[in-house]
Symmetry: D2
Subunit: 483 residues, 4 copies
């Protein structure tokens, strides 16, 4: 049950002087990053300065056919993107990579994150007569770089100057005719790493699972504030440009966004979730017969809770694995029915049992209530809900759609009220303190703003982009059910 969505996954590959089937490699890389965005995707291949792009709405395996990949052709570099975007309209214009032509040639750019000063930057650009084809921050970044590029000797110099002016969360891969550049913002909100394949080509990706998919050996994460350039000269790194800042990695990457097999800050997401489960067992012990997780992201933590508590782990739900982006919900189905179609309880597992139910988060609470109801119908005697995140109480400005307060149940209700709304016997949220310990006791520097309001940067003055956007997505609530 997806409830919160991040904006993107990014990918880049650089094969020095070697013309390779980079389109296929990008395809596999994006496929491994698909969980980071299911609305749209795209690939740009660079064949000795000639850029060819294909992008559209849909999943990687819907958008790209053999014909499309063949049309992209071989090349010595490629960048790719998977996108989660707010619904409404055709939306093709917001798909990435964004490819622009400027005075020094072409540039392709892929972005994961959200700027906090894009309103100001965009307004300033518009006052100079600039035109925008999309409403995305990425187009603002592209402009910032090309504006600098006019008076710079190199793309990396232009990037360096530009990123000193943009604020907020951004992991970027930028492709010029001859270079691939990876950038991570000073706070390091969103992950970005690189590795190397046996043939010497370099791979940049949001998560290590994309390196694994194409058999690239993980080298290291891009550091917060670092610019890494892959070119004929090899790897160059630029770090001096930005003032040192305390990193603030998004803790929700561990809790929900990232794939369990990805490694971030030296620890797998799976292990971080096992830790979350163990913390919850410690914070909220309970006498019960069985621990089950809500698929997919509650499963790992359920194993952790079981192991720490000694209560047997079980498989409580079967999720229909054929659900696709095109799944429709015809007929007069109630919301209860919709959950039932996607998730079925194994009755024998929970009937007459005291059940610990582990899930990753509660946003509005409606989906949680329906899941609990399924357990009750199946005969569960007690349901003790354990959430691997603290309560959401603040919006996120760094690239997730954790929304304004009126949609967050934890802003409107006490824990006791939430417990009753959801219909559980007990309810325990992970403490913020332990959330900060998910990656192990030695890894520090997390953003937990959505839980405690301590934003590591100044926040946008113009919190809405409505001046730039044509349609406000009305179907937020609907989406919660459908994903």
């Amino acid at each position: 049950m997806r409830k919160i969505n991040e904006e993107c996954g990014i990918f880049g590959i650089y094969c020095n002087k070697q013309q390779q089937d980079v389109a296929s490699l990008a395809y596999y890389g994006l496929y491994a990053l698909q969980h980071r965005g299911q609305e749209a995707c795209g690939i740009t291949v660079n064949d000795d300065g000639i850029f060819t792009t294909y992008k559209d709405r849909g999943l990687v395996n819907e958008v790209f056919t053999h014909n499309h990949l063949a049309a992209l052709g071989k090349g010595n570099m490629a960048v790719g993107h998977v996108r989660y975007g707010t619904a409404g309209g055709n939306g093709r214009e917001n798909a990435q990579p964004i490819v622009v032509n400027h005075i020094k040639g072409s540039m392709a750019i892929c972005h994961n994150g959200n700027l906090t000063n894009s309103y100001e930057l965009r307004t300033a650009l518009e006052e100079q007569g600039s035109i925008f084809h999309s409403t995305s921050d990425t187009e603002v970044i592209a402009y910032m770089i090309t504006k600098e590029r006019v008076s710079c000797k190199s793309i990396e110099e232009a990037v360096t100057r530009a990123v000193d002016k943009i604020e907020g969360a951004y992991s970027l891969v930028i492709m010029s005719p001859s270079k691939l550049i990876a950038v991570r913002d000073k706070n390091g909100f969103r992950p970005l790493c690189y590795g190397k394949r046996a043939d010497g080509s370099y791979v940049v990706a949001s998560e290590t699972c994309a390196l694994d998919a194409i058999n690239a050996k993980f080298i290291r994460e891009i550091n917060p504030g670092e610019i890494v350039e892959f070119s004929e000269e090899g790897i160059t790194t630029i770090t001096e440009h930005c003032k040192k800042r305390e990193p603030s990695f998004c803790v929700f990457e561990y809790i929900y966004f990232a794939r369990p097999d990805s490694v971030m800050n030296g620890i797998s997401v799976h292990n971080a979730r096992l830790r979350a489960g163990a913390f919850l067992a410690e914070e909220y012990p309970v006498v019960a017969d069985v621990v089950i997780g809500v698929p997919d992201s509650g499963i790992d933590a359920a194993v952790g809770y079981s192991r720490a508590s000694g209560i047997p782990y079980e498989i409580g739900f079967i999720k229909n694995k054929y659900i696709g982006r095109t799944f429709i919900v015809p007929g007069q189905k109630t919301r209860e029915d919709k959950v039932r179609i996607k998730l079925n309880v194994i009755k024998e597992v929970v009937a007459n049992k005291r059940v610990v139910l582990v899930d990753d988060s509660i946003v509005r609470g409606t989906t949680s209530a329906r899941i609990v109801n399924l357990l009750r119908e199946a005969g569960a005697k007690e349901v003790h809900m354990r959430i691997t995140a603290p309560p959401f109480t603040n919006p996120c400005y760094y690239g997730t759609d954790i929304d304004s307060k009126e949609y967050l149940i934890a802003c409107q209700h006490t824990n006791e009220q939430i417990r009753d709304i959801i219909g559980v016997d007990s309810l325990g949220y992970l403490s913020i303190e332990n959330a900060r310990r998910l990656a192990g006791d030695n890894v520090k520097g997390f953003c937990t703003a959505c839980f405690d309001g301590n934003y590591p940067t100044s926040i946008p003055k113009h919190t809405s982009k409505h001046r730039f956007e044509r349609k406000i997505s009305e179907n937020k609530a609907e989406n919660e059910e459908n994903n």
Copy 2:
């Protein structure tokens, strides 16, 4: 990793005198049965004797759009089918329901299973000048019924006479202008059950998970050899027609085919798999650090093994959940790479560990070898493979594609050889004796012919249908990788 495929899932709904959105209900039912066949699907709606059908190649949510369901319209009955079929050609002609027009009106038929005397029946029909549009057994059954129908007073009488002439495995739902009929062969090879919705409509389905999906209450399984008719007069059951025979339910339904949340013979498939894991722990104990399962069907048994052995259960693999029917494998990927794209190891879980690896079966052995290799690369110190089925040594004639002996590794090699081919430190198969105990010690009557060659019926004299078939699927081996 799918390796063996069954032919079908079937569904029917009967709403006496009530015109309902039966197309949507069939859609949800088939969606829940999707794991039983991903090649093609179809629905026939019966609106007071007017039959409307839509069927095509593809998954339920690919084939049926809102427009298609609307075009099917409302009705008082519907039948539906999901199909696994051998690859090659357009194949639309083999999609079901098969709808035929005969002297007494229309008839739609959905079939799960394989006849053992279809060659003889078809040849006899052809000798009378009958024509066939497809190569499926289902068209033979349709003919057998309509031939009888000419001289019978009722559809159920024609069905009764016809099924006494057909041999082998067949679960059927048959829809006439005014009746819905469910049939299960005398051996009860394939499952079939029915339930009732709150509004009084009856639902027939291959598995209980389809009843759950549309909130129908399970009533009971159709008995081997039973014909159940749903009509204006209510439910009628016909059992006297067939000689009593010992049931021989396919044990592989528990091991691999059915969904874990489905209940068969009073036990959930999940529980049967937990038992399989426990039996393996008993039959092949080992000193190890961790038990992991191969997703998806090895997971339940891994939990069972862990619980019985005391060795901690862990999540060892992440399966890419966005793999779709349209997923392509472009580029010069090795077979190793293809497995890697679908399945990634969580390295921390297995590195420097002694691993018990639970999977459901070994057919040719190549996929198993690749999976083991992924574990070795990730640093597993020892790999002990446990298989929740006995070795395949005989072809299946009852609706699965367990193939002729030359493709079965267990026919060609000793256990020691297989162990070495796959690259594991130890290898244990479930014993046939325990396979027969999967549903609990009180449930008897299983077909284990693929393991021991004890076929519960006479077997086809003409084991190949090549006289009727136009193309032999050359891409068997390929399929093993792709599914």
Copy 3:
């Protein structure tokens, strides 16, 4: 403006012992015959007895992609079909070729025409327990042949026996594993001819334009009642089977159905239409300034009228040539508007002029009235309508959809009334006598039953097929506008 539709165009190619790209040749042949049917099309390739078929709803260039043609593969024979079919439902099951499997192998069959005793034949077959997948006469013909085939030594013998039992209009191409057979009914209602390519392969087609398209030299027409077999032994012709009968070729093939460049009975359709125009000039002379034709089929006759009358020929209408099968008519358009979108008047040509307007037929009269109105709006002073056919007063049972009397304006109204309804100053229909002279004064033997009710065969007792058909097309009137 299409108003009447014929059922089909058929095509076959036989390349003795030569494996050729017969799929592409069939594609070009069908493309040339597209005007005979736009609803569905299909090709079956025979590669040494292995039949591969692709068929679907749509135009030839919509249904067949490079991939589909490649999948059909090479072969030494192929047959193909374009179909006009009544709307409603998915209709794929009625697409042709119909391929059936019977005791002696496979058979593909393509049919143009309509049987008059199919009800009786089908009922008799059903009484023997036969099942039907479609509602088409073609399936009945397939059965008749395969029933005979059981006790015959050869396919041609079975065909010979079968066609002696079927009545009505049928041009057929039949493909067995090793032979191609062309059949024309005794009356010769529908055209069928054959030719030869430079490489020695034989081509059968409904019209000569399909021979031209693939550079085959026309040899001759298949004679009424003739069976021509193309096989290893060369060409064999069977004629003795059927009682000699006066031919009755459909005169409407000249007036409307066939392509102007096709030659039938030794005269091009274009020339026959020129003659129609000249006859009208003689039968209904008028003082006028300009002669124009309604595109496309009124154009040739307008040239003929002009030449015979001395009144200048002009181009009065521009037809939008991008109208496609998928053209939609959104919004609140009146019927007047719909005509306007497809047909625009060149105002200078008709303003203040006395106009002779030549069209091929009047069915219900509504489209004619709208076309006349466009001329009036553009300033035409007088409009004199000349129709290249006599008035329709009787339904056709031989493969066109000239409908029952209540839809035919000429059955309900006098000529004067029709003139007023359509809004013309004068109205002249071609006389039946001259209609019989369209192919020149020496060619005899035409069916003019739709004009005079003189049916050359007994007519169906059961004029409706409603027992076999599921849906009656309600959108007849709508179609008149859209085509």
Copy 4:
């Protein structure tokens, strides 16, 4: 047989304060303009300042389904575009309308023509750091306007300033949140007119046939150099901004581009072509039996030649009207064969005849040679070719793809050589003098630069845009065959 392609057709509708189904009206308008561009099309609807766009590659009736039009919704303004574009790549980014967001809101722009100083303008913009998403001149125009818009009070003022800086051929429709603006360049190269519907809404279109299609009454053409604004205040016209210049309307609009029923400079294109035929009869008389035209654009002139010469007009070719954008040419077809598939000769018309063959132009000569060959094969005794245009000897910089000299047969060969290459007995081109008289003896001011090299503006210094373009279309020659 299309041989030369223009770039676009444009359309706009303004319904003051009335929310209407403007998407459907734009659909019909574009459909009528389809002959001006078949590669891509698009519509932008403006609903009280909210812009919604749908555009894609393909014909109007391929791109727009009922769903797409419904998604565009109602509005009080819309603009639309059909585009011919050079082949290669996905090309969606070049589809129009181009919609940009700038400091004062949104703007949609549709353009027909080609700038002669776009290289200079674009380079200057790039030097300021501007980015370009496409390679089209239209994006340059959009920038020029928005740059001015920053310091202007109104959109019309910005347009006025911008168009004084752009040079070359441009007819534009521009839509701001509250206004629709139509612009024609000072030379009036490309047509543009407007009309009014009964409900008071105004319609702007490239040709009058689009007004006719939606029943709008033609008011007048936009004058060269005129800016016409449709707003709440009604119609405003701005003319003083540009220095008076002699108009130079593209004479090839009459000869080939425009639809015969469109009226330009007070004369229908059909009549202009009749005049072309008559001029040719005068300039190149010949003794012959029959005059035929090459469909579609040679037909009208053939009628004119016939009328002036007294030689009977005939229909010599049947063009397959089902050729679509998706038509493929599979198999080993020679180029001769490809022509044959699209065009068939009516043999009776030309056999043993002296034939005058009228066509609109000769570019490379290969298609002409093949057409003549078809006539010879059909038995034509003599073929006298008459071309309704003078020989092409110079490239066009104003929006057609008349190419550089190496592809123009008339640059490489004498008339006698061309006659021999094409295989005709005589060859006559329309004189430039008479080409200038096509619209009647009183209409002056034409561009005939492609025939005589007298460019009415300075021509581009940078004749190629290769710095901006990624791919050079290699398939020019191929296209000549396919269209």
